[in-house]
Symmetry: C2
Subunit: 594 residues, 2 copies
Amino acid sequence: MEEFNILSLLIILAGAWLGGTSAKRLGYPPILGELVIGIILGPALLGLLETSEMISVLAEVGIILLMVYIGIEINFRDLGKASWPGLLAAIGGFIVPFGMGYYTIIFFGGTDLAALFVAIAVGVTSLATKSRILVDLKLLNTRIAYVLMAGALISDTLALVIFAGMLSFVDVGSIDTLGLVWVAGKAILFFAFTALSGYFLLPLLGRLLSENNIKNRTFHFTLILIIVFGFCELAELAGLHSILGAFMAGLFIRDGVFNRQISKEINDIFHDISIGFLAPIFFVSAGFHVTLEVFQTNLLMLITVVLVAMVGKIVGTALFYLPSGYGWREGVTVGTGMNGRGAVEIIIAGIGLEMGIISTEIFSILVFMAIFTTLSVPVFLTWTTNWLRKRGELIHQESRKGILILGANPLGLYLAGHIKDQEEITFVDSNRELVEEARQRGFESVHGNILKEETMETARAFEKGSFIALTGNNEINLLAAQLAHDAFFIPKNIVLFAPQDEGAGVEVLDRIKASSMFASKTELGPWIFKIKSGDYSEDTEEVKQVTTTRNWVKKHKSGKGKILPVLIIDPEGHKRPFHYHDEIQPEEKVLFLH
Amino acid sequence: MEEFNILSLLIILAGAWLGGTSAKRLGYPPILGELVIGIILGPALLGLLETSEMISVLAEVGIILLMVYIGIEINFRDLGKASWPGLLAAIGGFIVPFGMGYYTIIFFGGTDLAALFVAIAVGVTSLATKSRILVDLKLLNTRIAYVLMAGALISDTLALVIFAGMLSFVDVGSIDTLGLVWVAGKAILFFAFTALSGYFLLPLLGRLLSENNIKNRTFHFTLILIIVFGFCELAELAGLHSILGAFMAGLFIRDGVFNRQISKEINDIFHDISIGFLAPIFFVSAGFHVTLEVFQTNLLMLITVVLVAMVGKIVGTALFYLPSGYGWREGVTVGTGMNGRGAVEIIIAGIGLEMGIISTEIFSILVFMAIFTTLSVPVFLTWTTNWLRKRGELIHQESRKGILILGANPLGLYLAGHIKDQEEITFVDSNRELVEEARQRGFESVHGNILKEETMETARAFEKGSFIALTGNNEINLLAAQLAHDAFFIPKNIVLFAPQDEGAGVEVLDRIKASSMFASKTELGPWIFKIKSGDYSEDTEEVKQVTTTRNWVKKHKSGKGKILPVLIIDPEGHKRPFHYHDEIQPEEKVLFLH
């Protein structure tokens, strides 16, 4: 264990954390900071650190666990719904730079294999900062966000499949047809076997565990690790790289295979070990292999590759996006959003370097390409979205659609009546009569206990974009929102809070990132009575300048208990529930009852 | 990365899991199975696997993370309360075998340093299966369990401090006094610095994070890892071993330093990465270094060391335990319970082997000593506890004392009235009048919202052994029990469930290992009314043969709603609440209202 050097591990971790956090502060993905820190600390600049056996081992485990996590994050249901435009963007954004990248390297005198590696690296897409940048640019509920997300999902899978196909033939050289069939056969066998056992054996195992009432998280975690490394070994036996096994394992771990609470906790563990511990070691040490000399010796190639990557990605995306009918401008915008390269690219480049297929120079160029393209995303995307916004071509669309409302009481029905034209609404209530009434009014309506997962599933909570809990019981509202957030990943949760001493406080909402309905503690009973008896009138008030919902409520404090702000209506007539974590923009109107 | 061998990692993990799970099934700690699997798979027997750089690196990270976890598990508050008898047992159980172990090795011609390593290894205590064996032998609420827990806590700390002291002088050889002072000074400086920064800087950091509203778990996790490796590096700078740094870091990570929810999740992550992933790699690979030849070449020494370990531990514990006044028989019982050796011993032996201080033979003997002593624990402890039980000398005592009751309503007060003589009772209620009434009856009583951590803290939930939630609101009862379990580690949670359609089902209790009060869904209102108006009578029924509370309720089904089983009274007159997860023993009586 002579090689085990705590100090270098400490420096790498602290450096990665510093670099990652700074990058995040600036709106970039942490990987960018980690690569840069690696270049600074490594032989390229300061020469403080260099690769060692210890770093390689930990980095290797890190990318395996990271690939599991990437696999877990790709949800098959999402892939199925990935939409036609997303598919077009992903394919176009891959093929065009792939082809251009390949011929660039051939032009510069590289080998076929090196050209293929670069081609894949150039073709890969990484959403630069996932939802972060979309939030910053206020794009989260636009069609572009939806296409970007779908495109990035498909892109990773596409890149890895092509990478697998290529790897199969790396050692082939000049063998006969039979040999070729064998090589291809092994790879296909790997995917078929892992997919089939993922589909059939894993759920069987999950059922076995739950039938035997085994709910030990650590037991599950170890078991899953064994499956992961088993798949990795299969991938290597099939002549592929272990990361493909890890990715396949990750793909099948989610989605109701294991007890949902345990699955969630295990996802968190994979997230934290990989992203919070071992994967940064890989990315920092990737920087160790970078040489700055390429800026002198290979500047032309560097510039060409970066340009090819950017132009190829944007033009390719826009071109293939045309059949969607959403116009070339939106295509260009999507292209600029997909222009980043990230973890998968660096991992593939690292494998190429390790296998001796690409040189240190090309590897360095690919790392700089990742850095430059990622840097370009927020800049370009800001330009293009502002351009679309000015032209009025920024189309709103939620990636998860529909609202799940708990409580088919008169207030819920009133709210639903207002927004039913723009969003699909599903009610859940434990009272049969209320459920029946909601059905008669044309709403999808589920009878059951919201705190049981079956009920949530029947109400297709997995597809919903928002959850609104409107019962008179604070704790049920809170528990339900917690379940919606933790187990069904509903991004937006709004909870009605009645003023009461006992019980959970509003501060509990923070943990699950939920917001409180009506932006203030509200007694349900009186309003239900008023709505039922028709003893209310509706009114709207336009807002002159940006204000938080909280301030709106404060301004109308004198009417407390007498007026109830229900909805915010934007200038286009789009309505959204009035809740705590929201801002009212100028020209938007608040619809309130009194 | 040529050394990175997925297959051997897979075999180790799968083997560790198999061995660990089998050992657990048989009532032994997983480490036993892991060591045995290592011996079987390694060079000693099958020769399937051997150590590699990859395995060493992962094992090293594994023990560092494991030491963090061991440190986290040792709670200062618990240490402070560790009681006089526990301290006596820990010291006696350490010093006597330590001395005997030292002279044994000297007798067999070993070096001074080797003798010291063996002495520590022989002196260490590991609770063979922590609470598992105590549960199996129904010892959980006896004084023995309390002493065992306290003793094991102190023992680890004691062993590591002495180990640190020893390490400081390993390289010393024959230097002058000034050198000696320097060596000792460095070690003391290390402990002083880490302890002081643990006490003062870490809480400051925690406050800084919470003031800036940083609640990102991964961010905290990475930061803690950096602190851990920082402490490890300091330990090495001080001439100590990195595990001491990891241990010191672990000691200070808990206890309200960081946001409690995040702390809990991070503890879980340390638990799962170490115990579920990396630490087993260390223990399996420890088996790789074992040679079976010792059974031929060093049989006498092997037998002597094992005997010295067992006899020294039991006699030493019993001897030093005498001043407690609890009798030598209880001392012997405690000694048999503390006779196991576990993770810390193997880690110290491994360090000795790695540093070249002990030979492969001595290392092997120490591994077998760990295996044999651990195997002996359940056997010996069953004997000794049965012996005590037959003599009527098994004294009951909870390690966490007192009951926290949510709901100072008449039913709660009635229950409390019965058990106030044997346990300290604290009420929490949000109703001021009820709180006042409970106070007038002489109970400690806290006014506040139970779902706020401050309220729990005011009620000293950290010290309580049980939590009983008796409000009429299922959800509040459940949320409160969840908080009591997750954030305040109250081991026993009993929740009143009213029959109701809506809301959380009893099955939710399982997740937090809570039990339901009265062992059936019970309407609170009618009973409160009956108790208030004095319209009830008490009765007891003796049970003839072992039965579960559930079956008792079923047998009295005809009286459903008419009778309410409140307490179980054992032959000694000790009363405990009647709840779902309990068995009624012969000669015990059920006290019920009707």
